[in-house]
Symmetry: C2
Subunit: 279 residues, 2 copies
């Protein structure tokens, strides 16, 4: 084995250990079905002369989780602007695009929209019809028109990722699916991909049993009036409001209810009592 073969064998074993140690892809079956349908449609249409080619555009940054139930992670910053813009120009040039993008990053045909909440530029008129404020009307209408055209003509398949594990597993699925296109397939890898990862098995988990101890500690150390304690796994269903005089557990009564409604009512009552005592 010469040194180039040796280095290749090493790379292959690195790749194998990465995929072996990765957590299973959620929605793997759904992604697989959507890919299959997209590839089949494009194989048929290429017989009639269209599309020019199929390109997989990756976009945005990957994260490296530092915990299994992930709170902390190392992120690679990327707005996703280049990937989103390039997707539009590939479609314009006659390609179909598999857009593999970081959740929340810049989307094709949305680049000229305001960055803030889209609620900023809509209002309702008297008969409850949605109106776009004059200043944004042109860009919003163009965005809707171009996006719908790309989706309705089947020119754009969007697949989101967050972690380095999801990114590489999805990319592998896309690569396998696209092999049928031969030289007509292209990979345009604009994503900012982490150049390291923390093996899934080696991550330490936090201990939910010390939650209330930590809440008591925070109450004293930071001189808070209330600490609202919740475990990551159940934070939408149960919280405990910890004060110097005791603990109040709040549970969600039913699926439709927000636990925040009870929580804010409790805090407002405490605040009102506090104002009465002090003021």
């Amino acid at each position: 084995m010469d040194s180039s073969n040796e280095s290749e064998a090493l790379q292959r074993s690195d790749v194998k250990s990465f995929f072996d140690s990765a957590p299973p892809l959620r929605n793997g079956n759904l992604i697989s079905e959507r890919l299959k349908e997209f590839i089949e449609r494009n194989s048929r249409s290429s017989e009639s002369g269209r599309p020019v080619g199929v390109v997989c555009v990756t976009s945005g940054g990957t994260t490296v989780p530092l915990e299994q139930r992930c709170v902390r992670y190392i992120d690679n910053f990327s707005s996703g602007h280049r990937g989103a813009a390039s997707t539009e120009y590939f479609i314009k040039a006659g390609y179909t695009v598999i857009f593999v993008y970081r959740r929340g990053s810049c989307q094709p045909y949305c680049r000229y929209l305001p960055e803030d909440s889209f609620l900023e530029f809509f209002k309702l008129d008297e008969d409850s019809t949605i109106q776009v404020s004059e200043s944004h009307a042109t860009v919003v209408k163009k965005a809707i028109r171009d996006y719908r055209k790309a989706v309705e003509e089947g020119l754009l398949l969007k697949l989101p990722f967050t972690t380095i594990f999801e990114y590489l597993q999805i990319l592998q699925m896309v690569a396998t699916s696209m092999s049928s296109f031969g030289q007509h397939g292209m990979f345009y890898l604009a994503a900012a991909v982490s150049d390291f990862y923390v093996p899934w098995e080696s991550m330490l988990e936090t201990d939910p049993n010390i939650l209330l101890q930590k809440a008591d500690m925070a109450l004293k150390k930071y001189r808070m009036h209330v600490v609202v304690a919740n475990a990551l796994a159940t934070y939408k269903k149960e919280v405990v409001a910890v004060t110097n005089s005791g603990k109040t557990t709040i549970c969600k009564h039913n699926e439709e209810e927000d636990i925040e409604e009870q929580l804010i009512n409790l805090l407002v009552a405490m605040h009102s009592k506090y104002i009465g005592q002090v003021g």
Copy 2:
């Protein structure tokens, strides 16, 4: 000095060294003006019995940058759902809210909207009026109505952050501004705040001079056909397409143009030539 005083003095010196070493807040003046205007309006209206109180809700996770021109950072995951939901319930209870949120995290009144691009649920009818697809009409209209009401009545001030430096500097400004409300002010700190930071001065910068060397290396190592090299500071203005047979520099001609238009045209031409040679 007893041990509790000693520990307080230590904390104060930690706080001082944090703020001394933090990079200056961009838009600090703008934030200061918006805060001032909001506080003044709410001081006036509280004389007429409204609002019940003013609450600063923090929401979403902070990042710890690992580089000054930041590509990599350690992030604290938080959807921002609790902060956004709580903001809605505080407003319902008669409070005004200063919503200090991580850019891109969950926004008040948007929690029931589809997560994906909002373009998914709009379409244009024949006379170019924006229509909401039937399935989403109720939630979208409610979201627009509630959001506009909160903003127009001056009940909600939104201030975005990304890094731990921005978060703590903005929180300090809000705390100073809110002191005039006395016991009527409340802090509801739902943000997931990093419990460490990397001092700004100690960060190493990447060297733009080795860019093309790295591109050549990647071309060989990963057997790419093309590597598109760009420096972070100029990535929207200049890129270099590096192949085995040479380098092509692409520059933006004017402000209106996307550099991706030229880049994709070049790649499409290269791809077409490649298909011709191989196929």
